[in-house]
Symmetry: C2
Subunit: 244 residues, 2 copies
């Protein structure tokens, strides 16, 4: 399919069975997009929630390590090597939790925001317009019915005029809401690809930044830090052995 | 504090107030370690659960993208560019979810396993031994009381002998359980540093592997892939413009 299909807005005035049939196809397509996007939205919401929880849990772990010095351990509470090692762990894990927090923010902005907008604004707008159009169609049907019943006994000019006016205004209303509804359905066909691709690109960019941030800044620091721990553990062992 | 403090096992037979007072200090230290480790265990469990959830949610997102082709979209369902783009997203996100799964496994083995063992085996053993020692002490006190009451009226040799035997066996039992309890409390002093450092080192190693795996394998593929998307989106745009 090379181009994007359109509902013919110029056909809304005639409102033929062919137009209604085409509308049915667009409505079915919209329902399928809406269903698929909602599933994707839920999966992305799970990723986002899990990422936030991971960020919070990592931060909590770092905080607990920082609080090691404040614990009251009657024995060996003043072990400086242990204490400074845990402080270094706390620092590095805190940096990692900052990376997670940056990732969370990026996911919020570049993934959750566009897909939520599409779901809550574009898809909801179509549902609202569908209802409005349904009400306008029903009102029009009622006016037509009233008019056709009245037209058999042409006795009351005032009632007749009122019925004709009703048909006119309800027809106009239906035409307007139908054009509006068609417009929204057509716009959705243009938006649907972006709606899927934008949050995915946002997700990928956020992950790439996260891996870059993590591997460039943190791992180098970590290797140095793990080297330091290794040295201090060895020193402690040597000290203990010498004292025996 | 250079060395590690010890409860003197050779003093368990005499069981002096000084020894009991020192035992109290060790019990207080053990309670503090237990409390701190439990908090750290809970924070690590949160990290682990969040990591598992993130892994599962990422996998679900990849699966949803793979299922795009199976969706029934009445309009534009046979758009090959969109379809292949989403399949590539699915593939890359699936690889990312594999990295997350590897991280989950490493966290399970190198972080959760050692801290769970320490909490469920070492710390629980001490609680059990404390109870056993308390029961043996109570039994011993009962036997001593019975003996001291009997000794005032030396009329029944059989009862006397039984009371002496009771004091002997309960004293022996109490001595044995006290030695066992002291041993465990001393062992904990040796284990407590490893118990804190081992899961933290496991966590760090797992994170380093994750960042290496992610940045070395994935990001290069991703950059190529994002380049490909850029090109195909441009081609699609150019095609659409040419057709107009």
């Amino acid at each position: 399919m090379p181009g994007i299909e359109k509902l013919p807005i110029e056909e809304t005035l005639e409102d033929s069975p062919q137009t209604r049939s085409l509308l049915g196809v667009f409505e079915e397509d919209t329902a399928a997009i809406s269903n698929y996007c909602t599933q994707l939205y839920q999966a992305m919401q799970r990723i986002y929630d899990a990422q936030n929880e991971l960020s919070a849990a990592t931060h909590l772990t770092s905080r607990l390590l920082k609080e090691y010095d404040k614990q009251r351990f009657p024995l060996g509470g003043d072990d400086e090597v242990m204490s400074s090692t845990l402080q270094q762990f706390a620092k590095v894990i805190d940096e990692l939790s900052s990376c997670h927090a940056v990732l969370s923010t990026q996911l919020a902005d570049a993934m959750m925001f566009p897909i939520t907008q599409f779901k809550e604004r574009d898809l909801k707008e179509i549902l609202t317009l569908k209802e409005v159009f349904q009400i306008a169609s029903d009102d029009h049907d009622t006016a037509i019915n009233r008019y056709s019943r009245l037209s058999k006994r042409r006795d009351n000019d005032k009632v007749n005029t009122s019925a004709v006016e009703d048909v006119y205004t309800s027809r106009k209303k239906q035409h307007q809401t139908m054009m509006h509804y068609f417009c929204s359905l057509n716009t959705l066909q243009y938006k649907k690809k972006t709606a899927l691709l934008e949050p995915l690109l946002g997700y990928m960019q956020a992950q790439i930044s996260f891996f870059k941030l993590g591997s460039e800044n943190l791992t180098q620091q970590w290797e140095e830090f793990l080297g330091t721990i290794g040295t201090s553990v060895q020193n402690q062992r040597a000290g203990r052995t010498a004292k025996r």
